[in-house]
């Protein structure tokens, strides 16, 4: 399938060199949590979500730069997907406010958020299996008059719109190399094709913010490249992209800004190159008590200590103290 893995990226780079305005705008910001961005599209303030005793998300302040690609990373269970659900109305937080373009999204249902121009994809791809690929695409179009019950009965009211939407859908399908599959059921597509379809479907609604939940999960490397190209294209078209991803190479490659979450909190943010040096991030991924790689002297010292300890134990054991302490422990009532 999408045979040429490089199409997306070459298309982007063969045009005028990507401006990456967001990257420039973000270049001088301090690398600290909750830093204010020059032109935030989304602002999250004191949002918490608890499930019983577990605090899944507790974000103090987070701003997402307009027109940039923001990568959201963190170990499993860090609350990335929960934050996505909160931002898109699929879940409601216990406290906090969050706005898009200055408009509060609190208490909004998912379809209202989507109509504002914030569309998302899902970690487990939701292709609508028993609809054709083209029908999947058409569903993404907004403001369709044929979707109201009464107007649906008068084809004259929606024919022209449907035709325009179909053309738009075919353009997108060609871009995503799915046009040959337009009349197939979405259920027979491969996992990678479903990811492509879901992204293309989201684009049918002309979104302002695209939120991608693990767009590359379970996708072969060649297709990953093509997906990456598509995500970069979104930025070229002026969309704001937020995506969750585990593959650090991908994150480093495309994001302008990276937000790291762990245990529900934002623990670091900054440009991608800053993240791998950040102690909090390394702690979150590898555990707080990790050690730097051992040098030769250290290794010798550790070995010597271990040998000394063993020698002590052996010296003590014949004296019978150890068994005795054990038995005396045992005898205690």
């Amino acid at each position: 399938m999408p045979a040429d893995p490089n199409t997306g990226s070459t298309a982007a780079s063969s045009a005028a060199p990507p401006a990456r305005l967001a990257q420039k705008a973000l270049a001088d910001l301090p690398w600290e949590v909750g830093v204010a961005k020059p032109d935030p599209a989304m602002v999250v303030d004191k949002v918490t979500r608890t499930f019983g005793g577990l605090t899944a998300v507790s974000v103090d302040h987070l701003e997402i730069q307009r027109g940039g690609i923001t990568g959201l990373i963190g170990p499993n269970g860090a609350g990335k997907t929960t934050l996505f659900n909160l931002l898109t109305g699929f879940d409601q937080p216990n406290t906090g406010t969050w706005t898009f373009d200055g408009k509060s999204l609190g208490r909004m249902s998912p379809h209202q958020v989507a109509r504002l121009g914030v569309v998302r994809t899902f970690q487990l791809t939701k292709a609508l299996s028993r609809l054709t690929v083209l029908q999947n695409m058409l569903l993404g179009a907004q403001g369709q008059s044929g979707e109201s019950f009464l107007k649906a009965l008068v084809p004259g009211t929606w024919r022209a719109q449907e035709k325009a939407n179909t053309e738009k859908a075919m353009d997108l399908l060609r871009r995503f190399k799915l046009d040959a599959k337009k009349d197939d059921f979405a259920g027979i597509l491969s996992g990678g094709q479903r990811k492509l379809l879901e992204m293309a479907r989201a684009l049918m609604s002309d979104p302002k913010v695209v939120m991608l939940d693990e767009p590359m999960a379970g996708v072969n490397p060649a297709l990953t490249q093509s997906l990456l190209g598509h995500v970069k294209d979104l930025r070229e078209e002026g969309m704001t992209v937020v995506f969750v991803e585990h593959d650090m190479d991908v994150v480093r490659d495309i994001s302008d800004w990276v937000v790291v979450m762990a245990a529900g909190k934002v623990i670091a943010e900054g440009p991608p190159e800053s993240i791998s040096q950040n102690k909090a991030v390394v702690d979150a991924y590898l555990g707080a008590h990790h050690d730097a790689p051992l040098t030769n002297e250290e290794e010798d010292r550790v070995l010597a200590e271990a040998e000394a300890a063993i020698a002590r134990e052996e010296g003590v054991a014949p004296g019978g103290t150890t068994p005795e302490t054990i038995s005396s422990e045992k005898d205690k009532p």
Binding site: H111, R130, A152, F185
Partner: protein
Amino acid sequence: MSDLIDALLIGVKSGLGFQAIFFALLAIGINVHFGYTGLLNFGQIAFAMLGGFGIAISVSQWGLPFWVGVLVGIAAAVVLALLLGLPTLRLRADYLAIVTIATAEGLRLLFRSVSATPVTNGTRGLSAFNQSFIALAPWDTQTRYRILGTSWSGGELWVAVVGWVLVALSCLLVWALMRSPWGRVLKAIREDEDAVRALGKNVYNYKMQALVLGAVFGALGGMVYAVGTGSAIPDQYQNANTFLAYAALILGGAARVLGPVVGSIILLFILQFADTFLRALISNGVIPDALLSSTDVAQIRFVLVGIGLMLLLVFRPQGIFGDRREVMLDAR
């Protein structure tokens, strides 16, 4: 041999009579709910009962004209659909199933209860409300007519003709809706609600519209049944009818416009044919009395339908009209 032909003819008549229309309309409603939108409505008969009693109570008890009764029946079904949908459609699909099955049983018990007797006449039900409708027939309703070897009274024929016109109009409506973008949203909801929400559609509204539309088809079915039998008795509206309508829908093919109609015709034909033919064979002594007595036939025919459905699901899971590719996607 003449027994076989007789049984076939009686079966054909049953497959074209008002009972087949009743099941066809129920199944068309269930098709909108289950086939297209993925709503599990296990109490379609409740809407039919409200339709039937809407006419019966309006005409017999309140003295209103027949057509006002039709409107009352439809309005009652719409109200019930809204009441059932409001609390459950925000929840998972199972909740609607629980609520509808309980309502169907509860409403029937309410209608046959002693306290409801002043309105519904309790277990004896209401009658004598269909004269003004039968009187509209353009032919003499007292004489009997022979059509292709089957014998119909004028009244039966009139109910059947009007009923099939109703079925045809319903199919036309479903066809027009399901090829429109509105229908596309319904089918998408059947596949995955959350994906549809993420694309900016108000899923709750669409599910409610679908529930009400299917309920109106159910109410029309109940009206045809009440007018066809000339009486409205609560115990006619057993919830087993809902499941027979589901059987008809699956037999014909879900999410197909003509699936429920053809399924109902075939279901009624098989039930009646099996009944008549088995009885004939028993009275002829072809089937020995020790093996099967004529009192068992009423049950045996349902066993035959069950076996038939099982064979269908093994060899043609998509039903008669369904698309095999579509059904096979579920297995993945």
